[in-house]
């Protein structure tokens, strides 16, 4: 069976680093690899060549693969070149347009989107979102620290005592927790907020303070993801966050609600009242941003406040991100093929939920 | 009154008793709990000191007083088991604490 590796067009990721390719090779797969697939994340063609992979053009790869690995994008043209019965694995934001789905159907191909995995213990070794969120959370803090024009830790020096920086983390999911941990490491004073009050214990377990707003709605059935909140609650929460934000030197926001616009947590007014020199990293910028002013993929400075909008900070850690992503995909592949190519366990929760849905299905569903 | 006289006559004795009780308490008071079992076992062996009573009993029995002799005999046997077995088993127990 041939595994094809496509170059990611939108990110610096690669879905199969040479180490993982070698494992698959040893498991008797043929590997075909698009030229320069790993270039952006530090894995050169040579490395792939060394472990026995064939380097080929994109077209060749698609034409020859039974299983195809990629990142978050796949073109319609690519889909139409596929062999019948191809398995396509990537992270497609959970959905594809109708044209794409049609193309898949036409080729009897199946697409799996790993960002749809259930957040269960058993699925965690394939959980791309976890891996990348963790990297991004770490990087968000490091980037903020680099942009911030001062020490994060307290420093008592002969030219005066510099107080520790105050870091505010909004949304304490995987990324938020990692940012908290990193900020604590660097000696900052850290506060965090999340709508899910169960996170309180997790935040405290990292030594940070949890900001509590009374009356959040929780829905255990949502599988760990956050859901929308009442207006009253949002008002109260806004006031609280506003006051904390004004004191903060660094704010990192990670609040996402899957397939919805991200909630606005930092408004214009708040930014206006923040100290010049403060840094905001908005990790939800791709879905609209938690900060009203943030722009995805850009850094803007307003009243001396730097606002960095970046939902894909892991791109800055492409090397390790690709390694983790590849491992996740490898684990998923192992699960998928555990009973052979013919017996993909479509019935299992893990597989069924990763099947790519149509955009409409997603909207109806949530 | 008789009791008081008895006490007064044995005042040394009573003092001895009290001090020894104190000492017993003092010795044990700070023992770490891991030693509870071996200590119990060891002091159990010591309580077999009652054997001496049985020995004296036998020595003071007429060689023909078989009732006394045999009850003394059984007493000694039982007490010896207590003493010897007790110390031996304590030793085995404490051996476990040795680093392999």
């Amino acid at each position: 069976m041939t595994i094809g590796l496509l170059k990611c067009t939108e990110e610096n990721l690669v879905a199969m680093v040479p180490q993982v390719a070698l494992k698959l090779y040893n498991e008797k797969f043929q590997i075909v690899c698009e030229t320069e697939a790993g270039e952006a994340s530090g894995y050169s063609n040579d490395l792939y060549h060394e472990i026995g992979a064939k380097i080929a053009s994109r077209k060749e790869v698609i034409l020859s693969s039974d299983i195809m690995l990629t990142g978050s994008e796949i073109g319609l043209k690519d889909l139409n070149l596929m062999k019948p019965d191809t398995l396509l694995i990537g992270k497609f934001n959970g959905c594809m347009g109708p044209d794409h789905l049609m193309a898949l159907q036409k080729h009897k191909a199946t697409a799996f989107s790993l960002d749809l995995l259930p957040r269960s213990s058993i699925a965690q070794s394939m959980d791309v979102l976890s891996s990348l969120a963790s990297l991004s959370g770490y990087k968000a803090l490091i980037t903020a620290a680099d942009e911030y024009e001062g020490y994060l830790p307290m420093m008592t020096t002969s030219a005066g005592t510099m107080p520790p920086a105050r870091v505010l983390i909004l949304g304490a999911g995987v990324a938020g927790l990692q940012a908290i941990a990193t900020a604590k490491r660097l000696g900052a004073v850290v506060e965090a907020f999340d709508v899910r009050s169960s996170v309180k214990e997790e935040v405290q377990s990292l030594g940070a303070e949890f900001i509590e707003v009374e009356g959040s709605i929780e829905d255990d059935s949502s599988g760990g993801y956050a859901i929308r909140q009442t207006a009253e609650y949002i008002k109260q929460q806004k006031a609280l966050i506003h006051s904390r934000a004004c004191k903060a030197d660094i704010i990192i926001t990670t609040a996402n609600i899957p397939n919805k616009k991200a909630p606005i947590l930092i408004e214009k007014d708040t930014v206006a009242q923040m100290k010049p020199g403060s840094v905001i990293v908005d990790m939800a910028s791709a879905s609209g941003g938690n900060c009203e002013l943030s722009r995805d993929g850009e850094m803007i400075v307003i009243n001396g406040v730097k606002i960095i909008g970046d939902s894909k900070l892991y791109n800055k850690m492409a090397h390790q991100a690709s390694l983790l992503y590849s491992n996740n995909i490898h684990n998923f592949l192992k699960y998928l093929l555990k009973d052979g190519r013919e017996n993909v366990p479509y019935g299992s929760d893990i597989v069924s939920s990763t099947l790519v849905k149509s955009k409409e299905a997603i909207s109806l569903h949530s | 009154m008789e009791l008081f006289n008895f006490l007064k006559d044995h005042i040394l004795f009573i003092n001895l008793l009290i001090i020894t009780v104190f000492l017993g308490f003092e010795i044990i008071a700070k023992v770490p709990s891991i030693l509870h079992t071996p200590l119990m076992s060891g002091s159990n062996a010591i309580s077999g000191i009652v054997i001496i009573g049985a020995i004296i009993l036998v020595r003071q029995s007429e060689p023909t007083d078989y009732v006394a002799l045999s009850s003394g005999f059984v007493g000694i046997v039982l007490a010896t088991i207590n003493v010897v077995g007790g110390h031996a088993v304590t030793d085995r127990m404490l051996e476990m604490f040795k680093k392999k």
Binding site: S121, I122, S125, S134, V174, Q178, R185, S205, G207 | F6, T20, L23, G24, F25, I27, I28, A29, K30, S33, I34, L35, H36, T37, L39, M40, S41, S43, N44, A45, S47, G48, I49, V50, I51, I52, G53, A54, I55, L57, V58, R59, P63, L69, G72, F73, V74, I76, V77, A79, N82, V83, V84, G85, G86, V89, T90, R92, M93, L94, K98
Partner: protein, 457 residues
């Protein structure tokens, strides 16, 4: 030769020293030997020492000693480790029986010249010895599984009544020594019965306390016999055992959160039911048990989970690690990839506590090490050590790789309750035979364990 008696002093001192050394871990074994030497010396003196009315009867004595030693050694050698408490109880009963034999014999030698005090002492020896005897036998039977617990509402009232009865009988007898010649035998019988009825209702968990108490009673019986024979070694040895035994009993009660009274008069039925509500097959353990096990282990593996984070027990773990490492014990940390609530959660915490990277083993390394591990200390981990991931195809986590702690020799789980972890599923590990549960906040548990281990040698 007539000064031989003086050597009793030496033997007393040896017994004293022995007991003293027995109460400290580093000297305990030597203490036992010293006490044994003291005992041997005392026996030797008691045989050779000139006394009045001496008829020798050396053969009887030596024969009995040889026979007793043989039996004692044999039992001590053969017994399985787990049966030791029962054996100790049995031995103790024999000591009590010896006191009974002596006392009943002396009682029948009484004439009019005997003082009240002397008579009282002898009867007390009879009573206490008798109780120690049958009580110990019952205790042995229970531990050996040969005797079942028997208890109902009235047993404690019966005991109280019987105790009063025995004492009244004794008082009656010493004030009217020669009224009924069979009364001493009645007293004996009553004592023996009291021993039975006293221990029978006491439940399994309280057995160690009872044995300690019975042990103290034998000591007291020996002391009383010592008074009867005016023998210092018997007196002092007996008192020492008696007083130390009683305080030991009290300490053990305290450790179990019971009052001595509660144990003695049979608990009036209260304590038994509290154990009922618990899940079956779970074996609880205590700080001291865990401590002694860790102290004498060679390889310890600490397995942190989300509970360590919640309890903020990472520094306590490191300190425990330090204590153990100082004693030459190897300590490592097995970190499961998904332990905690974010990737690297355990790493963050362990780094905060300054655990060197070299001690942090990932899942593969750890799983290779477990077969050499004496104790796995599971600190608030649950899902990541759930063996149903390996062997229960119906489990939602079936197929997830876990830390295979069952390969190790002993497992101790620190958590607060029987509640489940993140994934909400039961963990059969907790009811495994190798596993002992230590309930409570992980940080507090570890700190207590550390404290205890520090006191050892």
């Amino acid at each position: 030769m007539i000064y031989l008696e003086l050597f009793y002093i030496v033997s007393t001192v040896l017994l004293l020293l022995g007991l003293r050394m027995l109460s400290s871990p580093s000297t305990a074994r030597k203490g036992n030997i010293i006490a044994a030497v003291g005992m041997g010396l005392a026996v030797l003196i008691s045989i050779l020492d000139p006394i009045k009315n001496d008829h020798g009867n050396l053969l009887w004595i030596l024969g009995a000693i040889c026979l007793g030693s043989l039996i004692g050694l044999l039992y001590a050698k053969k017994v399985k480790m787990t049966d030791i408490p029962g054996l100790v109880s049995l031995f103790n009963g024999f000591g009590g029986a010896c006191a009974v034999f002596i006392a009943i014999h002396e009682v029948y030698k009484f004439d009019a010249t005997q003082s009240l005090g002397f008579m009282g002492t002898t009867y007390l020896a009879l009573f206490v010895g008798g109780v120690a005897f049958t009580g110990s036998l019952i205790a042995y039977g229970k531990l050996a599984g040969k005797v079942r617990d028997w208890r109902n509402g009235i047993s404690s009232y019966f005991n109280l009544f019987w105790l009063v009865g025995c004492i009244s009988l004794i008082l009656f007898q010493i004030y009217n020594p020669s009224l009924y010649p069979f009364l001493p035998l009645v007293i004996l019988a009553a004592s023996l019965i009291y021993g039975l009825s006293f221990v029978w209702p006491i439940g399994g968990a309280d057995m160690p306390v009872v044995i300690a108490l019975l042990n103290a009673l034998t000591g007291i019986a020996a002391a009383l016999a010592g008074i009867v024979y005016d023998n210092m070694v018997m007196l002092l040895g007996g008192i020492l055992v008696g007083s130390s035994g009683i305080i030991l009993t009290m300490i053990m009660c305290r450790a179990m959160n019971r009052s001595l009274l509660n144990v003695i008069i049979g608990g009036f039925g209260s304590a038994v039911h509290s154990i009922a509500g618990e899940r079956r097959n779970i074996e609880k353990t205590s700080i001291s048990d865990v401590s002694i096990n860790m102290r004498y282990a060679n390889n310890v593996m600490i397995i942190p989970g989300y509970g360590m984070a919640v309890a903020q027990a990472q520094k306590a773990c490191k300190e425990l690690d330090n204590t153990l490492s100082n004693k030459g014990i190897h300590v490592n940390y097995a970190v499961h990839p998904v332990a905690g609530r974010m990737p690297g959660h355990m790493n963050v915490l362990l780094a905060e506590a300054d655990v060197p990277y070299s001690k942090i083993k990932d899942m593969e390394e750890a799983n290779a090490m477990f077969s050499d591990t004496d104790i796995c200390l599971i600190v608030g981990a649950n899902d990541v050590v759930n063996p149903s991931a390996l062997d229960d195809p119906g489990s939602p986590i079936f197929g997830m790789p876990i830390l295979e702690v069952l390969k190790s020799k002993n497992i101790v789980v620190l958590k607060r309750s029987m509640s489940t972890g993140y994934s909400g599923i039961e963990n059969p590990l907790f009811s495994n035979k190798k596993t002992k549960m230590l309930f409570g906040d992980a940080k507090e548990s570890i700190e207590s364990i550390n404290k205890e281990i520090k006191t050892m040698d």
